[in-house]
């Protein structure tokens, strides 16, 4: 009788888990369609479309010539049945993006740009949105599956899964940016692939799959955006150093699997060497590939007499408050819907628990080198921190040189959200307390309340407030 009860409980738990994932995933996908349907503008949308147009105009280009990428503005929105087109208008300015071209090539290949015989450029925005929604949805499926697997290895209560899925799917910008053209969507995919490789490596599955997942993840991240590329590179170095120190062998690189992935790394290296030779940097900034006149007239340069001069301390506050605001906000150049007060409480709790998880992980690893399970979160946490510091440093120098006050966007770290989520859940799972029914009940209530709060703070708060702000829709 007891075993029948247990089997029933286990089945019921399994159904609840699937239900939590499916509902939150469906909400996530729907949310993206909602943003696309309403036409809410996405950060850098016109610049991203300009880069895609450049790829369409130059289909053979592998290494872009940034000074040849023109900026286009949306001239007119054309609605044809269920399809939305944008007629684009050429401007004399340059596109300010200096990112690698992989994402833009992919979007161009998805048939999103149409150039008429008279040279008029049209963007099939519905197609572009759908491609990004599919890309982001597939990323989310991989992230949820990986999380499910990791969580199920320990106490397999449904509320842990609910919390994990809620943290992954409710970061405001993840779905918002996922609904339209932005290379962050490819970073997200690269990061989860890299993460899968690391998980596989930590499970001691030394095989082609593991090494290829890591290499593919690194390659995609590097080719999508340098910030996420830097995160995966630093994390990889930490894992390699840790493994060498732990095993006192070079097995992580001297094996038969790693050399097969070298071509991928060589392609990445080739691209960046070529960019470095051309521009003297791995990612050229706007000021490096346009004329001085255009740069000084742009939003990235503020004339000395109009500059807000911030001390190091004030700039530090400005930058990190901006990072926090943009982590919890939905925004574009002309508007920002910030979550403040209790609406941002869920995101705050998640970040605090994640930082706690990193600190405890480092402590455990310094005590016992066999604590291999902690390495992923610790490596990713340190990599995020180092990248953030580098980001801060370049932002500070940029502010000193050109007076630019922007560039503090937390979306560069958005691809790490599944790792943050698993860190939080693993931390809760690691709390060693007797699992009495009361404890389980309290744990369930906390997980449900936090998940509900996150869901409200994301889409609920958005719908209830966005129409007050008067966002100019395209």
């Amino acid at each position: 009788m007891n075993s029948v009860n247990k089997a029933f409980e286990s089945k019921s738990n399994e159904i609840k888990i699937y239900f939590a994932y499916v509902i939150l995933f469906a909400l996530f996908v729907f949310k993206m369609f909602f943003y696309a349907y309403e036409g809410f503008p996405i950060p850098d949308q016109e610049a991203q479309m300009s880069y895609i147009i450049y790829m369409e105009q130059n289909p053979d280009v592998i290494i872009p010539v940034f000074e040849d990428i023109s900026a286009y503005d949306v001239k007119e929105k054309i609605v044809d049945g269920n399809t939305v087109y944008y007629e684009m208008e050429w401007t004399e300015e340059h596109c300010y993006l200096g990112h690698p071209p992989l994402y833009y090539k992919m979007m161009q290949l998805c048939n999103t740009v149409d150039i008429a015989d008279d040279g008029t450029v049209y963007i099939n925005f519905t197609q572009l949105s759908n491609c990004n929604i599919i890309l982001t949805s597939i990323t989310m499926i991989i992230a949820l599956m990986a999380g499910y697997k990791l969580i199920s290895q320990k106490t397999n209560s449904w509320h842990y899964h609910l919390l994990y899925a809620a943290i992954c799917t409710t970061l405001p910008l993840y779905g918002y940016i996922g609904s339209g053209p932005n290379n962050d969507n490819l970073c997200n995919l690269g990061m989860v692939i890299f993460w899968l490789g690391l998980i596989s490596y930590c499970e001691k599955r030394y095989c082609y799959k593991t090494f290829w997942l890591v290499a593919l993840g690194i390659c995609i991240c590097m080719f999508a955006k340098l910030t996420s590329g830097l995160i995966v590179l630093i994390a990889t170095v930490i894992v390699i150093v840790f493994d060498i120190v732990r095993t006192k062998k070079l097995g992580i690189v001297l094996n038969k699997y790693f050399p097969t992935t070298l071509p991928l790394y060589l392609i990445v290296l080739g691209y960046f060497v070529s960019i470095y030779v051309q521009y003297g940097t791995f990612q050229p900034s706007y000021g490096q590939f346009v004329s001085a006149e255009e740069y000084t007239a742009s939003q990235f340069y503020v004339a000395e007499e109009h500059r807000v001069i911030l001390s190091f301390e004030d700039h530090f506050k400005h930058f990190f408050s901006g990072i926090w605001q943009t982590w919890t906000a939905t925004y574009e150049t002309n508007y920002m819907l910030v979550r403040n007060g209790w609406v941002s409480f869920g995101y705050f709790v998640v970040m605090v628990v994640f930082i706690l998880c990193i600190v405890i992980g480092i402590k455990k690893m310094t005590k016992n080198a066999e604590e291999k399970n902690e390495i992923i979160n610790v490596a990713m946490g340190i990599a995020m921190f180092c990248t953030l510091m580098y980001h801060y440093w370049t932002n500070y120098n940029g502010h000193k040189a050109g007076g630019y006050m922007g560039g503090y966007q937390a979306r560069y770290y958005m691809p790490c959200i599944p790792i943050v989520a698993i860190g939080v859940v693993k931390f809760l799972q690691s709390i060693k307390m007797k699992r009495t029914p009361t404890y389980v009940l309290i744990e369930s209530i906390v997980a449900i309340v936090l998940s509900m709060l996150l869901i409200y703070s994301d889409i609920g708060y958005f719908i209830m407030n966005i129409y007050y702000t008067g966002v100019e829709l395209l």
């Binding site: 699937y18 994932y21 729907f30 949820l144 697997k149 199920s152 002309n334 719908i463």
Partner: protein, 208 residues
């Protein structure tokens, strides 16, 4: 070992489930289901914000305040279309400032078209610098076309001052009249068809 295999099986099952979910939503998108649900969400959100449909929207950047002191006034011509007349109601969202003072007195707004004139009033102490104020007007007696909106505050003094925001943007409206001078600016007034539950900040006084 058994647990591990079961875990892998469930993990794959979850992946299949999520993928099927994505395919179903994509099919839903093709047949217009997601658009329908998005429309419902959008209507709900707009209702919460107090309107059924936005008609015009002025830019948020580059606004500057124009004060109204004593017998001064500003007049803005706005265009209302058939959709507003058919709805029978119009909501003006006006960007007004109080110069960070607690003012006392009244702000009047006349809405005039031909012989039809409606007058509304609000207590200026309601006006804050970070909120648009709303005027909900009954437009059944108006016709589609231009309507003149006049703001004046007869009791305001230099110590007790409010301002209406304007901007150099002639895309939405033209001909802002400040104390009889026609300018190349327009007042920051957004037009919308209000939701049923909305109560404006202004009180209707009379119609002539």
């Amino acid at each position: 070992m058994g647990d591990k295999i079961r875990n892998v099986e469930q993990h794959i099952k979850l992946g299949v489930l999520l993928f099927v979910c994505l395919v179903v939503i994509m099919i839903g998108q093709k047949i217009g289901l997601t658009d329908f649900v998005s429309g419902v969400f959008s209507t709900f959100g707009k209702n919460v914000a107090g309107y059924e449909e936005r008609i015009t929207m002025t830019k948020t950047q580059g606004r500057e305040p124009i004060p109204i002191l004593g017998t001064e006034y500003i007049e803005q011509e706005i265009y209302i279309g058939e959709e507003v007349i058919n709805a029978g109601k119009l909501m003006l969202e006006i960007d007004v400032a109080n110069y960070v003072r607690i003012n006392q007195g009244e702000l009047y707004v006349d809405i005039k078209q031909g012989d039809v004139l409606q007058t509304y009033v609000t207590d200026v102490s309601k006006i804050t610098t970070d909120k648009m104020i709303r005027l909900v007007a009954d437009v059944k007696n108006y016709e589609a076309g231009n309507v003149c909106v006049k703001f004046y505050a007869p009791t305001a003094t230099s110590d007790n001052c409010i301002a209406v925001y304007v901007l150099n943007d002639l895309e939405v409206y033209t001909n802002l009249n400040v104390n009889g001078t026609i300018t190349d600016k327009n007042a920051c007034i957004d037009l919308a068809i209000p939701a049923d539950h909305v109560i404006g900040d202004f009180v209707f006084i009379e119609e002539q």
